[in-house]
Structures are given as structure tokens and as C-alpha cells.
């Protein structure tokens, strides 16, 4: 439905480089990437605020690369929602319909219907500045949907909300996308949003789309090291594989499947268990290591351990840290299942 072909654009310190992907009608497509990856620039290029320096954009088989934003029928919700401060909620939602010369009656019906679905029926006479962040977001969605766009672009829609409000709205968003039947591209750096909303995901880093695929697939089998790192495989070790055994600096690890030659393996910090004694467990990989650093991350603690030139980072809860009673320099066993290892 929406197709980008090798689109490149630079603006200030941001750039998107040779980006190609396609969004299918009715799909909720997530673009996941760290800040500064060029995600907003990508959305604004799709919206027509920026023209690509190279490449083409197609929407329903029409080339829209050179169309101005008002001719594209693509709605855009920026990160701060950008509600028109001088108009009431009602007028905000009605803005696009008024331009399309709908009758007052049609506008009223549509605004009320959207307000009903989005739960903002009581706010229609209010001014945007009197609304909470969550309410503003709903109004922004209503305003964007009211023109029945072919596609909806959402830039970090939950990042300005507190955690509780965000997870509540993520839940509601699932319902809205069913009820209102829109196609969306949603840009975010949050795994939670990607995992709970996305049909497919594109991982964007340094202006490039590194990997595109179904959400679970991308998270379980990242194609490259930097995607893996971004997706949380903080421990990446390079070594030699022979069959199901992995050799590195005289240490042997069991792999989840057979491999051969020089490979890299990835391991999520939360998949590593730390123990004072050798554990009797199904986990096949046990390494004796030394604690080099303990970093407090709030509710959890990151422990860095080292042995024979291999560094691992493990994340454990604060209470496990107290139970273990470890401090820097102590010896400890790092335990992990072979199935937790990801081979690149």
C-alpha cells in the first residue's frame, strides 16, 4: 500500500539512507530504533514535509514523491501532538473536514462518533492547553483519523505520558486500531510498544532500516550484531564453533544448534543466572567468573563478570544481589541455558 524505494534525505544532523519498505493495508507497522536514528525524519518525509533527495514513495500505486503534504491523504501525529492551541477540541478534530467542505451536520456526526470511540466526548468544548497528556493524545488521534487518511503516522505517541497512562493507552490503541480500521506506521524506541502493538517491525539505526520482519521473528533472530545489541543482547562473544560446541579463550560453551567456523553469539543479560555454588540445573553452561562491577539500575542491578578475557553482563534483582552477598572481586558462577544463546 505504502512503498518506499531507496529513499534518502538529510536534514541538519539527521539522515535517512536508502530506506526501502512496504506497509500493507490494515497493518500496524512499527519502526523501532534508538533516538537520533532518523525515525522522525523518515515519518516527515513520508508525510511530505520533507522531499526525498533520492528515491521514491508510492501510495496505492500512485507516485507521491513530489506531492505536497495536503495532497497525500496521510495523517501525521507528531510527538508533542501539536494540537492547535487557539481552537477547541471540537474545532481541532473538525479542522481537516472543514477544509474538505463537509456539511456542518456531517462534521458534527463524525466528531461525536470519533469522540465516543476515543472517550473524549466530554472534552469537545475544552481548549487543548487544559487537557492532560493522555487526553491530548486522544484528540490528536481523533483529528488525524477524521479525514479518513490512507495511512496514519505516529511519532513516539506514548513517550510524553507517564508509565501507567502509557500502558493503559497502548491497550486502548489495540482496540482503536480494530474499531477504526486504520493502517499505521508507529515510530518508537520502546520494545513494549513494538511487542504489544506491532504486526511487523523495521529496526532503524543510523538512518538505515537494518531489518524488517514480523515482530517475534525480529526479536528472536536479529540478523546483525548491532540490531542484536539494540534489541538487548548486551553480551556478544566472538569465537569458534565446532558442531554444538563453541570455543573461546579455552572456554567451552554449548550451543542451541550446530554451527561451524568463526561466529558470534549473543546473550541477554537477564538470561544469565548468578550463583555462589555450581547449580544442579538444566542449564548446560556454567562459567566460573569474577565480579568486576556492580551497577545499580533502580529496581534491578547490573553485574559485570569477567573470566579469561570474556566479559558478561547479567541483570539480577536487588533481592538476589542481597542474597548472594557479592561485591567486586568475588568469585561467582554465571549460568545460562544453551537455548538462551543466539547465534548470528
Amino acid at each position: 500500500m505504502l512503498r518506499l524505494e531507496r529513499v534518502s534525505r538529510r536534514w541538519k544532523d539527521f539522515e535517512i539512507n536508502n530506506v526501502s519498505f512496504e506497509v500493507i493495508k490494515g497493518e500496524y507497522f512499527i519502526i523501532l530504533g534508538p533516538s537520533g536514528a532518523g525515525k522522525t525524519l523518515l515519518l516527515e518525509t513520508i508525510a511530505g514535509i520533507f522531499k526525498p533527495e533520492e528515491g521514491d514513495i508510492w501510495l496505492e500505486e500512485e507516485r507521491i514523491t513530489d506531492l505536497p503534504p495536503e495532497k497525500r491523504e496521510i495523517s501525521y501525529i507528531p510527538q508533542n501532538y501539536a494540537l492547535f492551541p487557539h481552537l477547541t477540541v471540537y474545532e481541532n478534530i473538525a479542522y481537516g473536514m472543514r477544509l474538505r467542505k463537509f456539511s456542518e451536520e456531517e462534521i458534527k456526526r463524525e466528531v461525536y462518533e470519533l469522540a465516543e470511540v476515543l472517550g473524549i466526548g466530554g472534552l469537545l468544548h475544552r481548549e487543548p492547553k487544559t487537557l492532560s497528556g493522555g487526553e491530548q493524545q486522544r484528540v490528536a488521534i481523533a483529528r488525524a483519523i477524521a479525514i479518513k487518511p490512507k495511512i496514519l503516522l505516529l511519532d513516539e505517541p506514548f513517550s510524553n505520558l507517564d508509565i501507567q497512562m502509557a500502558s493503559k493507552l497502548i491497550g486502548e490503541m489495540k482496540r482503536w486500531k480494530k474499531e477504526l480500521e486504520f493502517t499505521a506506521i508507529h515510530v518508537t524506541h520502546s520494545f513494549e510498544e513494538a511487542l504489544s502493538l506491532g504486526d511487523r517491525v523495521g529496526v532503524m539505526m543510523k538512518g538505515e532500516l537494518k531489518q524488517i520482519g514480523a515482530i517475534r521473528e525480529v526479536f528472536s533472530t536479529p540478523k546483525s550484531e548491532d540490531v542484536a545489541r539494540f534489541l538487548g543482547y548486551e553480551n556478544i562473544i566472538e569465537g569458534e564453533a565446532r558442531g554444538r560446541t563453541f570455543y573461546v579463550n579455552g572456554i567451552k560453551l554449548e550451543l542451541p544448534k550446530e554451527a561451524k567456523g568463526r561466529i558470534r553469539i549473543g546473550l541477554r543479560p537477564e538470561d544469565i543466572i548468578l550463583s555462589k555454588k555450581v547449580l544442579e540445573s538444566s542449564a548446560r553452561n556454567v562459567l566460573k567468573m569474577r565480579v568486576t562491577a556492580i551497577e545499580d539500575l533502580g529496581s534491578v542491578v547490573k553485574v559485570e563478570v569477567e573470566s579469561s578475557g570474556i566479559e558478561l553482563r547479567a541483570i539480577i534483582t536487588r533481592s538476589s544481589l542481597l542474597e548472594l552477598g557479592i561485591s567486586e572481586g568475588d568469585e561467582i558462577y554465571a549460568v545460562f541455558k544453551s537455548s538462551a544463546i543466539h547465534i548470528f
Partner: protein
């Protein structure tokens, strides 16, 4: 405690200027009220009435012209980047550094008889020295608007011009209006350039000087007081209206 002394000291220093501005205004009005008869007589003087009318009409016309040309310029300066932008910005501030008598001479050299002793001449002299207020205030007003509002309006189907009139202009209006009021105020207080370009038709501010030169302080005082009161009244009225809009927006 120390901070209180600092604040008190700063307030004391600052109030000197405040008193310095207010004292002459109160004194001239107070003195004239003692000679109320002369004030009434001046108000019946047709020359005075005519000159007041001239002053107010020309300043208002100047304000409107500065809006028509200044708002688009302010928009360009706020939204576009181009080579020589800082030079353009500098040019706009030039009228502030040129002595106003010189402004009058320059205008006469440029337009000569076409503007000599005419309403057009008065307005052109006023415009030259007062337009920067409208230009700069509209530029600041446009700059303060989040460009994403305009982007979103575009995606919702509004053309660039439509966005300007439905989003940008209404939001910048308080700033533009306050700039226009300053332009009006600067225009009605202009003497130097007008004196050279258009001694006639007589404006009130030139008439004050006339009376002072020909008849002395006492005669120029009543018309001065009338000019002060009327200007302040209109200035306050316009600010009040603009402020009300501001609150609504």
C-alpha cells in the same frame, strides 16, 4: 536576608527612571489643570483640532501600511533561511540608528516634490522610522509558533496559504498587534523627519514646536497636554484590546 537587600537596592535604582518618566507627565498635566480655561480654549482652536486629526489619521494609516508589508516580511524572516538573511535583518534595524532629521533629508532627496508637504510625505516619514516595530514583532510572533502545528495542518489538507490564515496568523496575532501598536505610537511621536518632509499639512507634534518657537512655553503647553492625554488614552485602549485577544487566544 541578603537577597532582600539586593532586591531593595535594585528596586530603588530602577525607580529613579520610573519617576523620571512620570514626573514631567504629571507636572505638565497638573500645571495645565490649574489653567483649565486655556485648555478649553485650545480645544476650540480649529488649527489644533485639524492638526490632531492629521496626526491620528497619518499614524493610523502608517500602522496599517506597516502591517500589510511588515507581516509578510516577518514571516519570511521567521520561516525561511536564505543567503544574506542577516543583512536583511540589519537593514530593518537601520532606521533606528539614523537621526530622524537625516531620514527626512534622505526621503526628500529620493522622492523630492512627490512627497513634499503632503499627507503622503507625513506617512512616508512615519513609516520609515516606525515600520521596524511591526516587522520585528511579527517575526518574533511567527518564530514562537511550533512549526509542527503548520506541518500537521498541511497533512490535514490545508495549503500553505490556508495554513497561514487559519493557524499561523491567528496564533501570531497578539505579537503582531503589539508590534503594530508600537508602530502607531512611534509614528505619532515622530517630529524630525516630518518637519523636513512635510511641514504642512500641520500635525499636532509639529504644531507644538511651532507654538513653542513663536509664542513660548506657556502657549505650547496646552496642546502638548492634549496630545499626551489622547495618545496615552489610545495607546492604553489598543493595548487593552490586544491584551484581551491575548487572553482569549
Amino acid at each position: 536576608m541578603r537577597r532582600d537587600y539586593v532586591t531593595a537596592f535594585f528596586a530603588l535604582m530602577g525607580s529613579f527612571l520610573l519617576v523620571y518618566i512620570l514626573l514631567p507627565i504629571f507636572l505638565i498635566i497638573g500645571k495645565q489643570l490649574l489653567d483649565f480655561e486655556m485648555l478649553v480654549k485650545t480645544l476650540q482652536d480649529e488649527l489644533v483640532i485639524e492638526s490632531l486629526k492629521n496626526s491620528f489619521l497619518t499614524s493610523t494609516a502608517t500602522m496599517l501600511i506597516s502591517l500589510i508589508f511588515g507581516v509578510p516580511l516577518g514571516y519570511i524572516l521567521a520561516r525561511e533561511d536564505f543567503r544574506g538573511k542577516s543583512i536583511v535583518q540589519g537593514i530593518i534595524d537601520v532606521p533606528i540608528v539614523i537621526p530622524h532629521s537625516v531620514v527626512g533629508v534622505m526621503l526628500l532627496v529620493t522622492f523630492s516634490d512627490a512627497i513634499l508637504d503632503s499627507y503622503l510625505g507625513i506617512i512616508m516619514a512615519m513609516l520609515f522610522v516606525s515600520a521596524p516595530f511591526t516587522i520585528n514583532a511579527s517575526r518574533d510572533g511567527f518564530l514562537a509558533i511550533d512549526e509542527r502545528l503548520e506541518h500537521v495542518a498541511r497533512t490535514l489538507g490545508a495549503s500553505k496559504l490556508k495554513v497561514f490564515f487559519t493557524i499561523t496568523l491567528p496564533l501570531a496575532m497578539p505579537s503582531i498587534l503589539s508590534g503594530a501598536i508600537m508602530t502607531w505610537a512611534r509614528a505619532i511621536s515622530e517630529v524630525g523627519a516630518i518637519l523636513i518632509v512635510a511641514y504642512y499639512p500641520k500635525t499636532a507634534q509639529v504644531l507644538v514646536m511651532d507654538y513653542f518657537n513663536n509664542y513660548g512655553l506657556n502657549v505650547s503647553r496646552p496642546i502638548s497636554v492634549i496630545l499626551i492625554l489622547l495618545s496615552l488614552f489610545i495607546f492604553a485602549l489598543m493595548r487593552w484590546i490586544a491584551g484581551k485577544r491575548n487572553v482569549e487566544a
